[in-house]
Subunit: 336 residues, 2 copies
DNA sequence: CAGCAATATGTATGCGCTTGCAATGCTACT
DNA sequence: AGTAGCATTGCAAGCGCATACATATTGCTG
């Protein structure tokens, strides 16, 4: 089978009796070309299955139209939704997303090198960040970076995330209002700035009320089963918490299941449980978990528009954007 | 700010006192070049932040190294896992995934045109399929297609999916063994070949036993809330089912919640519930849903290897690959 | 050390497109 | 009719790299 060459603009030009340059213009929005020739060219192109070769266009225009997405946190409950939002927003703006999975620091940096090779016009990073070295390399190469959901100081990149301080204060206030005294904070990721922001803001808020304190902070707990285990462990202690804030809904649901089905702990009387993320199951009647609704859609859209505006203005100035999240008070916390 | 041009192979060549061709060879695996010059060139390249421009390489090699992923079913419970698997497998093979979201038929076809423009070397389609026209266009352009999780006859594309007939038979057998008589089948997508394959195989299997029948097939039901609604409606009928097979775990969990918390239906005595997909929540103690475990990981890997082998052998022969899924019998079905 | 094969390097061309510039065609106005 | 002014088209160079081919260098054998 002789792999036949795909038709190019010259082939179309020959068929339409025009110059190759005119074919190029026919496919360039706003180029100087008469309606008549354009029509003639498009007809010829259709006849030949011709589509402009974007690779060649990229080379001559010196911009690929590619945006690299570096996706670290696939376990995020809304991972699919977020990625979908990113891809669609990027496509809508006339770019194409190239997705790369990354977990370790080295693989993140390696992915950036790959992105550079592919001449991406910009990079979006989800829940991780490049090393200072790599970030500097991108700066030298004029590739703007926007980091979603992971604030990282000292890196030349823009950041879009939630206002974790504000969320922490809201949670703190709600706990005070519910007269909870002994608070435990359970998180999966010890290094997440979002988590530590929330955690610190809760601590700071409740510190204003006498007799209320954070009795423990546990990190590295992640998932439903781990939640059940955690509440079992906590309940074996002498001093038990009367409120648990969990930076993952899955873990919180595990804790809830442990309370209700195994340990017979009454929620929200004996124990308050608060999650983070508002996954669908949290709203289900048999769970009814209080949690924090994160404006993922807005975060995603903001991320993409921020990046693309940087690409278009060739600006490398880092921005720091924080959107508001909303605390949803449901059945797992008492309101007074 | 004068946007400085990125260094190219000529710049490196100048610094290293060699020809541009040698620089190219230094970055081409297995090219004819001495260790000494290669080292010299790599040093110079490092000094200049040089990375080969893959766009230019693509143009001259006439292959982009890009694989298009057309992702339709973002609501799939394992969407993130699947996409992650695809991206990682693709990257590992030395290609890069370009992700495109698509829902309507037109957007699917449009996405294909885009992929052609970007000179992708192959396309993976998740849970949808191109029109016959577009598929023919890809055939003419020598772009192999592999469709994951959606068998579509009459299209020039390879298919990787589960053996739905076999799954249906297993479910049918399990129902017979549990002495269930009046079976309802609830599915979201009326047009899915996987769903209809399962559905038909169940019907065929139970038809061998006297007194057992499919009393209703309902389509277009999707999600937890819809599940609750559905069981409520079904229970208001004169003839109630004693087994419900649901092609989505979420819906099945909704049905289960309706049974246990609202209608006081005893599962699995009065009603058997079977889901599909084995989402994490199905295995949770408070649900314990019988369901079908789909080998997503294997499906994904097979999809990618199939596609890449087609790319490398330039074969356009469609293949039809069906992997086995496993029925997990848990607490929502009686075993005899 | 001659002589030849194998290896290494350079030269030059082309991948398919965009775009600056020059040439042409057209309109409208004097 | 003549020509300024603009829209349209063609021409040709170049984007950064791979590679066929020519040339230079090395290593090896007898």
């Amino acid at each position: 089978m002789t792999t036949k060459r795909r038709n190019n603009s010259q082939d179309v030009a020959d068929l339409a009796n025009v110059s190759q340059a005119s074919v190029s213009r026919a496919f360039t929005l706003g180029a100087s070309i008469s309606a008549k020739t354009k029509e003639k060219i498009l007809a010829a192109a259709a006849k030949l299955d011709y589509q402009p070769n974007i690779i060649a266009r990229s080379l001559s225009k010196n911009q690929s139209g590619l945006i690299g997405i570096l996706f670290a946190n696939w376990d995020h409950p809304k991972a699919a939704e977020i990625l979908k939002g990113l891809c669609e927003a990027i496509t809508e703006k006339g770019f194409k997303p190239v997705v790369q999975s990354a977990s370790t620091i080295e693989s993140v940096d390696k992915a950036f090198i790959d992105f550079l090779s592919y001449q991406v016009d910009g990079v979006i990073v989800f829940s991780t960040s490049p090393s200072a070295n790599t970030s500097a390399l991108c700066l030298r190469s004029n590739i703007p970076i926007v980091i979603l959901n992971h604030s990282t100081p000292g890196i030349n990149a823009s950041i879009v995330t939630i206002d974790s301080i504000k969320v922490g204060r809201q949670i703190g206030d709600a706990l005070l209002k519910g007269r909870y005294k002994r608070i435990a904070i359970i998180s999966s990721d010890a290094h997440s700035q979002v988590v530590s922001g929330i955690s610190n803001a809760i601590a700071e808020t409740v510190s204003h009320a006498a007799g209320t304190e954070i009795i423990s902070k546990i990190t590295g707990i992640h998932g439903y089963e781990a939640g059940i285990q955690t509440i079992t462990d906590l309940w074996a202690e002498d001093i038990k918490p009367d409120a648990i804030v969990c930076t993952s809904d899955y873990t919180a649901l595990g804790i809830l299941a442990g309370c209700r089905h195994q340990l017979n702990i009454s929620v929200p009387e004996e124990l308050c449980v608060i999650g983070l993320g508002d996954i669908p199951a949290s709203g289900w009647k048999d769970h009814d978990l209080s949690t924090v609704k994160i404006p993922h859609d807005e975060l995603v859209k903001t991320t993409v528009t921020t990046l693309i505006s940087k690409i278009e203005t060739k600006s490398m100035e880092p921005e720091n954007i924080r959107l508001e999240a909303k605390l949803l008070l449901r059945g797992t916390i008492r309101s007074s």
